[in-house]
């Protein structure tokens, strides 16, 4: 991989990633912010490619842009347009100072440290190495990651599932009698004593 190609890729894609990230701060439209985030992810995937990390770059596009991006889009869809504002808190200025200080600190350390640079030219292909590592040396974290994913899936589904009152209807009970804030009460006992409880809940 030629030096000039890496340099062009780095500066161009780096500028794109930073520009898209700054755009998230500035834009007022929530949907534009999500699409700028996806653009930033794709630019970062391009930066991974300049580091000869082919598998991780494509995985970044697949997981972040393709899955997490779509997930955030769906969530934006589920909130109505009244909540789709991109307002700032009082920490806009202090946030800039804190973020700037941390970034400056890391950059100073990065440029001052004498790194022991390896003299290999990067990877030619990473897929075989990753597969070998994930099944031999790091097999246990691999299995634990699958358990983590199942736990996250089940947890997310449980969080957004609301017990539909239709499931717990007694015979002949008019639906209008069920108070509206009955979320999460999946057993029939709460509804068995459902005299109209007008004063409860907001």
């Amino acid at each position: 991989m030629s030096d000039a190609g890496v340099a062009i890729g780095f500066w161009g894609l780096g500028a794109l990633a930073v520009g898209a990230a700054l755009g998230i701060l500035v834009t007022q439209n929530l949907l534009h912010a999500v699409l700028l985030l996806i653009l930033s992810f794709i630019a970062i995937a391009g930066l991974f490619l300049t580091l000869t990390a082919d598998f991780v770059a494509v995985a970044q596009v697949l997981i972040y842009a393709g899955a997490v991006g779509v997930l955030v889009l769906f969530t934006v869809m589920l909130t109505p347009s009244s909540a789709r504002v991109n307002a700032d808190t009082v920490f806009f200025g202090p946030g800039f100072i804190i973020g700037g200080l941390i970034a400056a600190g890391m950059a100073v350390v990065a440029f001052k440290t004498p790194w022991s640079i390896a003299d290999r030219g990067g990877f030619t292909t990473t897929v075989g190495l990753i597969g070998d590592a994930l099944t031999n040396r790091w097999a246990l974290p691999f299995e634990l990651a699958s358990i983590l994913l199942i736990a996250a899936m089940v947890g997310a589904i449980v969080l957004v599932r609301s017990a539909a009152p239709v499931d717990n209807l007694e015979a002949d009970q008019p639906v209008a009698d069920i108070p509206f804030d009955q979320t999460g009460e999946a057993d029939g006992r709460a509804l068995a004593t459902a005299a109209p409880r007008g004063g409860e809940g907001h």
Binding site: D3, A7, F10, G14, A17, V18, A21, I24, L25, A33, V34, L37, I44, L47, F48, L51, T52, F55, V56, Q60, I63, Y64, A67, V68, L71, V72, F74, T75, V76, L78, T79, A83, R84, V85, N86, A87, D88, T89, F91, F92, G95, I98, G99, I102, A103, A104, W115, S116, I117, A118, D119, R120, I130, A133, L148, L149, A152, L159, V160, T183
Partner: protein, 104 residues
């Protein structure tokens, strides 16, 4: 000019700072989550830069770490968004300036 490890680390620091700024400065819970994801991506960049440039015995370890970060970030994003939807359903808003008391 050729690009070395310091440039990648500097870019990663800048992205991390912007992600932190977004997470601190915005009111919408979904935007805060986006800032967190940006911070995680910048850390991925830093790990891959180290894996590429630093002398070590298992250079692929950086890539493995990044794959696990991708996995955990995806899981965390899904749960965080489920929380945001559920908060919206009970409180009616995802503005964190208005969700500051445990009792509504």
């Amino acid at each position: 000019m050729s690009v070395g490890l310091e440039h990648y680390l500097g870019l990663s620091a800048v992205l991390f700072g912007i992600g932190l700024w977004i997470a601190l400065a915005k009111r919408n819970a979904i935007i805060i989550l986006m800032g967190i994801e940006l911070m995680l991506s910048s850390v991925n960049l830093m790990l891959l830069a180290f894996s590429r440039y630093i002398r070590s015995e298992t250079p692929i370890a950086g890539h493995i770490f990044v794959i696990f970060i991708l996995t955990v970030a995806a899981a965390e994003a899904s749960v965080a968004l489920a929380l945001a939807v559920s908060v919206y359903r009970t409180r009616g808003t995802v503005d964190i300036d208005q969700i500051d008391l445990l009792k509504s």
